[in-house]
Structures are given as C-alpha cells and as structure tokens.
Symmetry: C2
Subunit: 236 residues, 2 copies
C-alpha cells in the first residue's frame, strides 16, 4: 500500500510560508531520526558489552556502529539544510529517552529482541518517510535503508532459546508487545507535539486528516511488527 504523497515541487522554488513550514518539517524529521540513531548506538553498544561470547559482542557491536553511521549521515544532511543538529534533535530527546527507560532489557535475549523489533519498526518508518520527504533527503533515507544489514542473527538466537526452553516464548511475546506499545506511544506523543512533522507526512487536507493518516501509518507499522514476531515463532 503506497502512502499518499505530499503534493509539492521538490526544487525549493516555493519559498515563503509553505517552504518554511516544509523545511521545518524536514529538519524535525531528520532530527528525530538522528537522535533515534544516536541513542540506538549507545543502547546497542551497552548491550554488546553484556554478550555471553565475544562473537555476539561483535554482532551487536556491528548493529550499534551501523546506527552511528546513519546518525552521521543525518547530521550531515541537517548541516546542509543550515540547521543546528543539536537543536534539531532536542525536541525528540524526551520521547526517545522515555522509550529506552521504559524498555530496559532484563537479559540478553530481551535486548536482542529489542534490537530486532526496534530496527524493524525504524526501517518500516524510514520506508514510509522516504515516500514523503523532499530530495535529497529522500535519497539519503533510501540509502540508509539499503545499508541496513538487519539483525537477522537474532532470529536464530530466539528460535534456539525457545526450543531449549518453551517458556521463554511466552515471556518474549509479552516483551515484544511492550516494545511495540512503548514505541508507538512515544511516536504518538511526538506526532501530537510536533505538528510540523505530521504535516510533512500527509497530503494537505482538512483538520484531522493528518491524524487519520498517521493512525493508518501506525497500523501498517504494527502489522509488520506482528509479521516479524511470527518469524521469530512468537505471538504478537
């Protein structure tokens, strides 16, 4: 399902109010993604430190490093737009930090599932966003998607753990529900607070249109999350 495209010229010719609003929305978007990647890097590298083997330290470390590179690309794009990267990230600090505080993994497997679920939702969100964003931000986001190697090793680790002890599946299913719930709840909070961001995501319409479109996007993210949980042999 293709989300509605924002009807705008991408050559920046429409200056003035509309252009200013779109620019702010673009900066918001990049700032939110950048802060998400930076904290993702910090959380994943902290989790890598708890790995049972050096090999797993390196696997999770590689995911962390990937997030840091995305952060660097997003900051570069913010600078190109003449924005201050720290200022652009600031409005999203509270929501992203709250997500991480409420989803601190209790053990190695919970951390792996968080990495997998988080990366999945982030990738889906990028994909949605890529369709709306003006160039060259759209290109950048697509590049980040192409580069994402995926936390595929998590699938094997989870299947192995639930095979060894089937009770683990119930606990991880609950954990997955909590992760997606917290992620969407914080995303809703951001969408409500930053109307500039939601205007980017929806084609201009009457009052309430954006909320409906955002709601539909969240539904798509949730559906994909359910599919990913099934791949792990977990109910969602």
């Amino acid at each position: 399902m293709t989300p509605p495209r924002l009807s705008r010229s991408s050559d920046g010719a429409d200056r003035g109010g509309a252009r200013g609003e779109t620019l702010q929305a673009e900066i918001d978007l990049l700032g939110a993604l950048a802060y998400g990647e930076l904290t993702g890097f910090l959380r994943l590298s902290a989790h890598a430190d708890k790995a049972p083997t050096l090999e797993q330290t390196a696997e999770v470390g590689a995911l962390a490093v990937e997030e840091f590179h995305h952060y660097q690309l997003l900051v570069e794009r913010l600078r190109e737009l003449g924005a201050d990267p720290q200022g652009a990230m600031r409005p999203f600090v509270a929501a992203v930090d709250a997500y991480h505080e409420r989803t601190t993994p209790n053990d190695w497997l919970e951390g792996l599932l968080k990495a997998y679920v988080g990366e999945g939702i982030a990738t889906d969100f990028y994909r949605e966003v890529a369709a709306f964003a003006p160039e060259p931000t759209r290109d950048l986001v697509v590049r980040l998607l192409d580069e994402t190697s995926g936390a595929e090793f998590v699938v094997g680790a989870v299947l192995e753990a639930t095979e060894r002890d089937p009770r683990v599946a119930g606990r991880l299913a609950l954990w997955g529900r909590r992760l997606v719930g917290e992620a969407l709840s914080q995303a809703q909070r951001v969408a409500a607070d930053r109307s500039s961001l939601t205007t980017l995501l929806v084609e201009g319409g009457g009052a309430g249109t954006d909320l409906v479109a955002i709601g539909k996007m969240f539904n798509r993210l949730t559906e994909n999350h359910v599919r990913r949980m099934l791949r792990l042999g977990l109910t969602a």
Copy 2:
C-alpha cells in the same frame, strides 16, 4: 629510532618449527590488538553516553566506532590466517579487562584523558609492531594507523577545563600517570606470559635479549606519553 627487525623471509617459505612459531606470534599479536579494539569500542561508547552535550556524545562515539572498524579488520586478517578470532583474543582478555577495571574514569574529563592517552599509546605500539610484523599484517597495521583520526578534540577540552580551574591540572596529571602505569604493567604481564609474542618483536638473540628489547620499547612508549601530557599542559 628504528627498532630491530626480525630477520625472516616474508613469503612463508620457511615452514616447520620457525614458521609455526612466527605464525603463532602473528596470531597472538592480532588477537591482542583485536581484543584491545573491541573493549576500547565498548568502553568509549559507554563513556559517550555520559557526555554533557550531544555533540560530545558524537565525538566520543566516533572514536568508539573507529575502534570497532579496526577490530573488524584485525578479525578478518585472523580468519585469513586460518585462526579462530575468539581463540586468538582469549589469552589477552584478563590483562585488557584488568586494565579497564583499574582505570574506570571518575568523570567526563578523566574519560577523555583515558581515550587520548590510550589511543596515543596504542598508536605508538602499532607503529612499533608494524616494523616487525610479516606482510600483509604489516600493511594492515599501517592502514589502521593512517585511519586513526586522533582524539584531538580532547586537547581543547582539557586546556579549557584547566584554565577554568587550575586545580584540575594536578588531578588529571595524577590520572595520566595511573593510566600509563596500568597500561605498561598489563603489557609487561602479557609480554611475560606470551613468549611467542615477544619473539616476534625481537631479532633472535641470546636469553634475555627479548626482555631488553621490550624494555626499550616500553621506554619509547613512555617518552611519547610524557610528550602528549605536555601538549595537554599536564606534567607526566
């Protein structure tokens, strides 16, 4: 001052005992460096999480990511040599972990100084090692050196902090002494335990030759450390 080169053919034609010993030494060397880089990545990213600003989080994060890339290159080389990377790192886990446990920074500045001092000593050590190692390990080590961006932003941060409060200089000078002391002490421990490693570093000679050569190398590392501390306006 050029350290003595190991007199050996680099084409791998000298198989048998001598070749086996050199290969073990090369694996030891790569394993020690790899574990150092991997833990460096973990420690630096944990420190990045404590940064006072997001900009500093990113600066220290970039150092962490650099270490992870070095780790990946070293592991790749270990695999080329047919070695198991985890097995190659294992003998050095105790010494490296002990170094980090004994040098846990008490605050942001101590962590920055540790990054600066640690990277300085590691870079010097790489440089020494590059002269001894067979190809293509030598090339790899030189590449890592060229890629090292340096923790130069630390110089500004330390100078600024000591200008604001001159008492900080005394505390950081003591901390620098502790860092280099612990680093060399753990390196001595490794040199004593892993004779294969020290044979790589010295030209074949009578008993004791290697200890003398190692001692001289440590002196050079210490001299360079003193120079770096002076650049920070700190006594060493």
